[in-house]
């Protein structure tokens, strides 16, 4: 019964491949989601910080690096990959709004 054995082999692979997919998604969240958060958090900080603009830019860049490191660490302790993506994208969107909306509105 070739169909049966193929099916059972496939069923056997399922949990394994789901695990791999979720891990890949998590790694992608850390790499790209984490970078998006760091990128937009740095932009938001640059706008918020009450400093001369060169000072605000330098402070934001240095803190942004730490934000990236923290984001990656958090992604790997998050409940699930989907949860990690959701939270990172929300934070990135809020930061982007803080950074770019004032310029767009004025």
């Amino acid at each position: 019964m070739p169909t049966d054995s193929l099916l059972s082999r496939f069923m056997h692979l399922m949990p394994q491949s789901r695990h791999v997919m979720s891990l890949a998604s998590r790694i992608a969240a850390a790499l790209f989601g984490g970078y998006a958060v760091a990128y937009f958090a740095a932009a938001a900080l640059a706008v918020i910080l009450p400093l001369v603009r060169s000072e605000a830019a330098v402070t934001a860049m240095l803190l942004g690096l730490l934000v990236y490191a923290a984001a990656v660490m958090w992604v790997f302790s998050a409940r699930s990959a989907a949860h990690a993506w959701l939270v990172l994208l929300i934070i990135a969107a809020v930061c982007a709004a803080v950074a770019y909306l004032p310029g767009m509105l004025s």
Binding site: F40, A42, S54, A56, A57, V58, G64
Partner: protein, 518 residues
């Protein structure tokens, strides 16, 4: 992902440590060598080692070379000879690039035995010889190093107790773990500093959003940012040509202004123009911060433009981080502390890599997540990632002595030897059983290190029998450090042999290199 934060950090530490450790070892090794880049350059150009031309005369000769060969370059930069190096470097701008050549201060001509010298290690450790893409890769790997350190702290609950724990004979897995922990904890402040400061140097490149937002997207916009952040005088070229004053005079005035003999560099913006600007910084500043000791003159009139304009706090912080990373401050003691701390960090990375498969082969990790086939690949890549870069660096020095001094494209050949030997190490590691590969490659490293001072005697006049009696420690230290590396390899080989015998007698505690064969 795992049940607790600590468990997920352990997972992250293990896996990111394995994947990124393979390249981090090479970055930390070459980064440590970069501390002594000038001494290595000097060693690699023994023909110029004896000349003792004062910086004032030397920079005039370098300026002559640049005027004759690159008169239209938008800027020049000269690194004069110092007590760390008898040769000097002349850079000129070509677009966004700064090519350079090593000059012999005695003749003002390109130094015999053209080489990138120790500069190659500096370059490699932040670019992997791969340009901008390399800087991005090193940035990503550096971020993972930072995460590795932070997650290491999280999972290491007994950090204080383990600091005093080392059980060299407690069996392979325990002693590798102790070594990894002890080396990591010992150098933790250094490792955090060197990793974060390395990222901070290129922060502008990695996270461009603040500058794009506050200044704009164009190249001119980012130049405006740099101008505001780094207080210095810029003059627009007038297109009126004028004769530059001899550069030696500016060196002398800087020496007087800061009370130091050693000049780090002298640069000239639009050298043939009426608005030429000459900028200098002294070397071995007592301050950590690079370039708040910047002094600038008008190149045509000699008028002082500014001296030591202060930084604002955030920029100052970033410059201090840069200064901490470049290790130009202090003297020989500081340099040796950096070098040794860097090597301890390198060893910490190596022990971490070994630990990965030791733990799994002994099934300490119970829900063993990987197959034996995967561990075999890991063991082989470990050989290529640890022994490989050591052999490659040695091959670079050997190539310097064996290639004919007048060879065209000589620096490229030396660098080619570095990568060729690293590739050979990988092929060898994939071909041989892992334990044999360790033994054979460390035997090769021991031989290359122990014989290098001999090769130096045969091929140059600046070897230990000359440099030691003359008390020329900076040059002798290169030979002696390589000898010490050779002895360390011999010690490691002896331990490999001893472990093997012990295992044969007791039938237990098979060490990593034994297990690697199974």
């Amino acid at each position: 992902m795992k049940k607790t934060f600590s468990q997920s950090m352990a997972w992250l530490h293990t896996w990111s440590g394995l994947i990124f450790g393979w390249i981090l070892f090479a970055i930390f090794l070459t980064g440590s060598l970069s501390v002594f880049d000038r001494e290595i350059s000097q060693w690699m150009q023994p023909e110029s080692a004896a000349s003792q031309v004062p910086a004032t005369t030397a920079v005039d000769r370098a300026a002559d070379y640049l005027r004759n060969n690159h008169p239209d370059a938008p800027s020049w930069l000269i690194v004069p000879p110092s007590d760390r190096s008898a040769t000097m470097l002349a850079y000129w701008q070509e677009g966004q690039e700064f090519p350079h050549v090593a000059l012999d201060p005695a003749t003002g001509k390109v130094a015999k035995r053209d080489t990138d010298g120790g500069h190659f290690f500096v370059h490699f450790h932040y670019q992997l010889h791969a340009g901008t893409i390399g800087t991005w890769i090193v940035g990503g790997v550096g971020l993972m190093m930072l995460i590795g350190l932070l997650s290491g702290i999280v999972i290491h609950k007994r950090i204080f107790k383990d600091f005093f724990t080392f059980r060299p004979r407690a069996g392979a897995q325990r002693s590798w773990l102790d070594a990894h922990n002890a080396l990591g904890v010992l150098t933790l402040p250094f490792l955090l500093m060197i990793t974060f400061s390395g990222l901070a140097i290129f922060a502008f490149m990695y996270l461009p959003s603040p500058v794009k937002l506050l200044y704009g997207d164009s190249l001119e916009d980012s130049e405006e940012f740099f101008h505001e952040a780094r207080p210095h005088v810029d003059l627009e070229p007038t297109d009126q040509s004028a004769a530059l004053l001899p550069l030696g005079g500016f060196v002398e005035r800087t020496q007087q202004a800061f009370g130091t003999e050693q000049i780090w560099y002298i640069s000239v913006d639009h050298p043939g123009d009426e608005n030429a600007v000459v900028s200098l910084e002294p070397l071995y500043g007592e301050q950590l911060t690079l370039s708040n000791q910047l002094i600038q003159f008008r190149g045509i009139t000699g008028e002082l433009l500014q001296k030591g304009m202060p930084f604002q706090p955030a920029t100052h912080t970033q410059r201090v981080l840069t200064g901490l990373h470049f290790a130009q401050f202090g003297g020989a003691v500081t340099h040796w502390l950096y070098f040794i701390s860097g090597l301890v960090g390198t060893a910490m990375i190596a022990t971490g890599l070994l630990l990965f498969s030791v733990k799994r082969r002994r099934q300490i990790v119970l829900d063993s997540d990987v197959s034996t086939g995967f561990l075999n690949v890991v063991d082989r890549l470990n050989v290529a990632a640890i022994a490989g870069p050591i052999l490659a660096c040695l091959a670079y020095l050997w190539a310097n002595r064996l290639l004919p001094p007048g060879l065209a494209e000589r620096p490229a050949w030396e660098i080619g030897a570095f990568f060729a030997v690293w590739a050979l190490s990988l092929i060898h590691a994939l071909w041989r059983p892992a334990r044999r590969a360790w033994l054979e490659q460390f035997t090769a490293a021991a031989l290359l290190s122990l014989l290098l001072p001999l090769l130096n005697m045969l091929t140059s006049s600046q070897h230990l029998l000359v440099t030691l009696p003359a008390g020329r420690w900076r040059l002798a230290a290169v030979d002696l450090t390589v000898l010490a590396l050779g002895l360390a390899c011999v010690w490691l080989l002896r331990r490999l042999g001893m472990e093997r015998q012990r295992t044969a007698v007791s039938g237990s505690a098979a060490p990593v290199w034994e297990l690697a064969d199974s």
